[in-house]
Symmetry: C2
DNA sequence: CACTGGAATGTAAACGTTTACAATTATAGA
DNA sequence: TCTATAATTGTAAACGTTTACATTCCAGTG
């Protein structure tokens, strides 16, 4: 590999001049600039980012740890991070935690050793104290979806409790009283908050909390599938389900479809996150927007400005969550799906009549929701 | 930040000893090792990866460029790359091309300047010659979904032509004759090959190629939506659609659903890639598997071994594509959806009868497909 | 006791940049 | 022509590691 010295020699100038040309410093004659650029082309020379970082003591790398890059939620987040990094002239170093504590720690330590300009961590399993330790030691580290006491201004979060409250309130407004909740089995901030939002919504409408209607599983497609089966197998009747995230909701809906339980005519479903998938499901899934791209971008900017000790740039914006109405919520059916299933299995005719009335009820609701 | 010198001083040894401890070299007494580790903990010291890379002349970073990290196809790919990199003790530097030539070039140059251990490029818009140039200059660069003459052994590809041939053959086997094709508007390898596979399938079954049944758009959800509308607006009748990828297929299906055209009773659909979304659609989408994770892993391994000039490790495996049967393909309807739409709009009754016969036809096909 | 060999440790020169600071050259004014 | 000043260029010391080579230390041997 050619070095800056080779270029200097070929262009007949000093290394300083080459460096100046390559960094766009003004203090260089047009003649020298030409010679340098020519030599650079000839040698196919590229500045060595490592050496540059070392000499400058200012990295152009922003490190990110997420659970799983193939999860569309993180996909959107990392996309936004890369974009924001690009705007700052930086590149993204990405690690995966894969839901394992050991792997998450390796990922964080790895970023640490790269002495990144910024550091954005989404850790599911690392305990608070350890994370707190890291936060203390590296001032530019920013957390996503966690809230560590004492570091609130470096934790990027949405109001999950409020979001889930919104979601469940919509189900209640549609007339549901037996509302199940499918949660995440990881006990981090958003999981706890969303469950709390579900509970508050029920309480504030004087509905009973039935533990038999709450299940938790891995926040992935298969987790949704398992949770749905578990819920159905419990034999407790429900007419609506609020789900931790859209991916689990997709799994749940696929089980309902398989069993011939119609969404939304028999069971209404509401998700969380509003990933692309939500628009593709049939029926399209009503859900809560999660401004994950804004969060990613804000995290990158915050982290980078902390690194440069910009005090004023460090404030985080408020992130808005809101309910998106699609087609997966309808008023509860006159006859619950448990009864219908019994009826069907006892050989009665298909319920064409009930489909029509379901459509009618749906139209009513939509009118009420104002579009 | 503490440096290796600080650690050496505190531990009362030389920097060489510290380095040896940190790199697991055997030539160091237990006593010294202890002292070093203690000092390291005390100072919260982390080796500087940049300095290490510089001194060792062997990077531990693998660079990857993809179009869009939020695209689930690339999500899976990058996930696999990160995993493979992790196994090699490396980290991933990720850039996005975002379907713009300028941005793709910036991304590549960026990776170049990091002097990565490996370099994996998925470029949509950079022309062959330029890519060829890069390939010549950096021996460890590996291409995904491109095939540049002279560098075949560094291009990671599946047999797209064969895959699409398989997909369309399934439609033909189900009895379809009027088969539309929704392609990608980017003219790179996989787009061309998949179109060719579609054409070969028709030809080899003596079906006519109708240009009016072929559209192309952006390979994203919205592209699928637009393509579907375009196709329908042309007023040419078709009973099946083969789509460039699952994401576009999802967009297409959502339009069909909206218009009341049933999948698969009125129109059969087959996708490509088998992303998670395919399993979540209703009906679940029949598609072609794309072993994108294996490809990502293979690309990382190949790239890293090229960097170290391992000649023998450099062979690429064959990647298998196969048809996955789900529920989106049925035999063509007795009455085409264009006629049905007319009928419906002229006020006739809903076609309950036709639904039953559709179910029957579907069952027949499934029996034929052997599951 | 001198000598040998091996283990443990230390010294210092890379690695490829940036950037103060010094040195040189050019420009203009006297 | 000679300064004074500004513009350009060069020199060399960092930056934080690794590692070849040199040195030191000790146990074991004759």
């Amino acid at each position: 590999m050619a070095t800056i010295r080779d270029v200097a020699k070929l262009a007949n100038v000093s290394v300083a001049t080459v460096s100046r040309v390559l960094n766009g410093s003004s203090k260089v004659s047009a003649q020298a600039r030409e010679a340098v650029l020519k030599a650079q082309r000839e040698l196919d020379f590229h500045l060595n980012a490592n050496a540059r970082t070392l000499a400058r003591k200012d990295s152009e790398i922003i490190g990110v740890t997420v659970s799983d890059l193939s999860d569309p939620y993180f996909g959107s987040m990392v996309r936004a991070c890369e974009n924001a990094a690009h705007k700052l002239g930086c590149s993204l170093l990405v690690c995966q935690g894969l839901h394992e504590e050991q792997r998450e720690i390796v990922a964080i330590e790895n970023l640490l050793s790269h002495h990144c300009r910024g550091m954005i961590v989404h850790a599911l399993t690392v305990p608070d104290e350890r994370l707190s330790d890291y936060m203390r030691r590296v001032p530019s580290m920013v957390l996503i979806n966690r809230e560590i006491p004492g570091f609130e201004d470096r934790c990027v979060n949405i109001d999950n409790e409020h979001g889930e409250y919104l979601a469940v309130s919509q189900l209640i407004a549609a007339g549901h009283r037996d509302i199940a909740y499918v949660g995440s089995r990881h006990s981090i901030l958003d999981a706890k908050e969303r469950l709390a939002g579900y509970q508050r919504a029920l309480k504030s409408h004087n509905l009973p909390l039935k533990p038999s209607l709450v299940v938790a599983d891995e926040p992935l497609l298969d987790g949704g599938v398992r949770a749905a089966k578990e819920l159905i197998s419990r034999g407790v009747s429900f007419t609506a389900v609020a789900v931790y995230n859209d991916t689990m909701a997709a799994g749940l809906i696929s089980v309902l479809n398989e069993k011939g339980i119609s969404v939304p005519d028999d069971v209404s479903v509401v998700g969380f996150d509003d990933i692309m998938l939500a628009r593709c499901l049939n029926p399209p899934l009503s859900t809560i927007t999660n401004p994950v791209e804004e969060m990613g971008e804000a995290a990158v900017r915050l982290s980078s400005s902390l690194y440069h000790k910009d005090r004023q740039a460090a404030a985080l914006p408020e992130f808005e969550v809101r309910f998106v109405s699609r087609k997966s919520i309808a008023p509860p059916p006159a006859k619950s799906w448990t009864d219908q299933l019994k009826e069907r299995s006892s050989g009665k005719a298909g319920s064409h009549e009930s489909k029509v009335s379901a459509a009618f009820r749906r139209a009513q609701l939509e009118a009420k929701q104002g579009k």
